[in-house]
């Protein structure tokens, strides 16, 4: 990594240390989500608003759900941190049934919205291609009429 601290080039010293340390970082689950060619990051490479919409609708379709599974809970240091961690875990256990119920219904609603969006987008695309086909047909007819008139 190239790095300048207070105007001094420290790429050879600190920069190399940082690069070395960076190669040791591991978190397989995160690495797979953070891939440069992921669906969401590929939105950076679209070339028009239409292409963006096309891809974004697909992203929404796949990522509509609320995941009710237990997520990793950071444990703050010290006794206070351990106690607060235990309280959070306890609350999670006693509230999970309500949480699952809410998540289930929320996912139902999310899925309906995503479907409506997807159907509308498909219908919109179908109408546009139909209109484009119709315009081509009309242009061809006009050309034929003009040729006959000449």
């Amino acid at each position: 990594m190239k790095i300048w601290i207070n105007g001094n080039d420290e790429s050879e010293s600190l920069g190399q240390d940082l690069t070395k340390k960076a190669t040791t970082l591991e978190n397989e689950a995160y690495a797979s989500r953070a891939q440069d060619d992921s669906e969401i990051l590929s939105l950076r490479n679209v070339e028009s608003n239409a292409e963006y919409l096309d891809r974004y609708v697909k992203v929404v379709r796949k990522r509509q759900g609320v995941n009710p599974a237990l997520y990793s809970q950071p444990r703050p240091p010290g006794l206070k941190g351990t106690i607060s961690y235990m309280i959070r875990m306890f609350l999670w256990r006693i509230l999970r049934y309500q949480h699952f119920w809410i998540a289930f219904h929320q996912n139902d609603i999310n899925a309906m919205h995503a479907e409506v969006l997807d159907f509308e987008h498909q219908e919109h695309n179908r109408q546009i291609s139909e209109l484009e086909g119709r315009i081509k047909q009309l242009e061809a007819q006009i050309n034929t009429l003009q040729e006959r008139a000449h």
Binding site: E26, V46, R75
Partner: protein
């Protein structure tokens, strides 16, 4: 020395660096005994500071002497400037390359394309051209504009000496390590690179951390939608999109920040770097555009695209107290340079 110096802007908004500079210039000009009004299109003027500007439609109907035209995007202000029959000064703040916006907002990309097309004709119509960084000046020199002066962005460090908002202090000051970014949520800011790096930092080095993103999310809604979806995809906790905040809340964001990081791919100058320094926050920025000039011989500049490397760099700057202190000392020296700037004298010399 003219008796009257007006300013033309494409937009006038609170939280916008160009508008802030226009206000500082106006105050300075009034202090020098000159008359000075700010003109901006009504539709791009925010209501909170609308009383400080006049509608641009009034500009050509009033008495004129000299005009400073702040140029960064094509707008009706460009036409007013070209029709203006007085001494014309172009203040060039850079134009975001259109490719950043293409796909996210094609209309703005087209507008940026037009802006760059018009740059030569506008700059060549100015009696003087002031660029706010060497980086911006070089763009003009590449277009064979010879009379370019580099005049760094007018900024008083005292302008951000504001009491931090207590609610925001409470919200962000709860023991987590805050990493801060301030700027519009726009594709050239490359906020996704910071989010990816923050993910590595949070998941492998410091679970008790938070990424605070401050800045208007309406500049480019499709880009903002991508960022939100990315936060969900990466399953990041504690990514706080604060949106546009007022000056007191912004001061609280700086006060509670452990580190300021700007991974932007294109900046004409980048005022938030200086603001962060004013709040004694170490600054990490990409070595790009006008940012090296803004921070001078202080702060940390990096070049590279690996989010893991940026994560490790953030960790070093947060934990290594010796390194941190050295950076903060250098940043203080940089601020002393900015404090020493005599803006009224500079303005008088520029205008006489």
């Amino acid at each position: 020395m003219p008796a009257r110096v007006d300013q033309l802007l494409a937009g006038f908004a609170d939280g916008d660096a160009i508008s802030q500079e226009a206000r500082i210039l106006q105050q300075t000009l009034h202090g020098l005994g000159l008359e000075s009004d700010i003109y901006a299109p009504v539709k791009t003027t925010t209501p909170a500071i609308a009383h400080l500007a006049r509608p641009i439609s009034e500009y050509l109907t009033t008495k004129r002497d000299s005009v400073i035209f702040h140029y960064s995007i094509a707008s009706e202000a460009s036409q007013c400037f070209l029709k203006s029959d007085c001494k014309r000064i172009v203040r060039y703040h850079n134009i975001t390359p259109e490719h950043f916006m293409r796909g996210f907002d094609d209309a703005v990309a087209d507008q940026l394309h037009d802006s760059r097309d018009q740059l030569f004709s506008i700059a060549s119509q100015g009696n003087e051209v002031w660029a706010d960084s060497e980086f911006n000046a070089d763009e003009l020199r590449d277009l064979s504009i010879k009379k370019v002066k580099v005049v760094p962005l007018f900024f008083h460090p005292s302008a951000i000496d504001i009491k931090p908002d207590s609610h925001m202090l409470q919200k962000l000051g709860n023991g987590l390590t805050n990493i801060l970014f301030v700027g519009r949520m726009a594709p050239n800011k490359n906020v996704e690179a910071l989010m990816l790096a923050f993910g590595w930092y949070q998941k492998t080095m410091n679970t008790q951390s938070r990424l605070v993103l401050v800045g208007s999310e309406w500049s480019c809604p499709r880009y903002f939608a991508m960022l939100r979806s990315l936060a969900k995809t990466l399953e990041l906790s504690n990514v706080s999109f604060e949106g546009f905040v007022n000056d007191a809340a912004l001061a609280a964001c700086y006060e509670t920040a452990a580190l300021f990081v700007c991974p932007s791919l294109h900046e004409g100058y980048c005022l938030p770097l200086i603001e962060a320094m004013c709040h004694n926050v170490p600054v990490v920025a990409r070595r790009n555009g006008g940012m090296p000039e803004a921070i001078g011989k202080s702060g940390i500049l990096f070049d590279g695209d690996d989010p893991k490397e940026l994560a490790v760099l953030m960790d070093v700057m947060i934990r290594d107290s010796k390194q941190r202190e050295a950076v903060l000392n250098a940043q203080e020296n940089r601020l002393a340079e900015l404090h020493a700037r005599d803006i009224p004298t500079e303005c008088r010399n520029l205008l006489s």
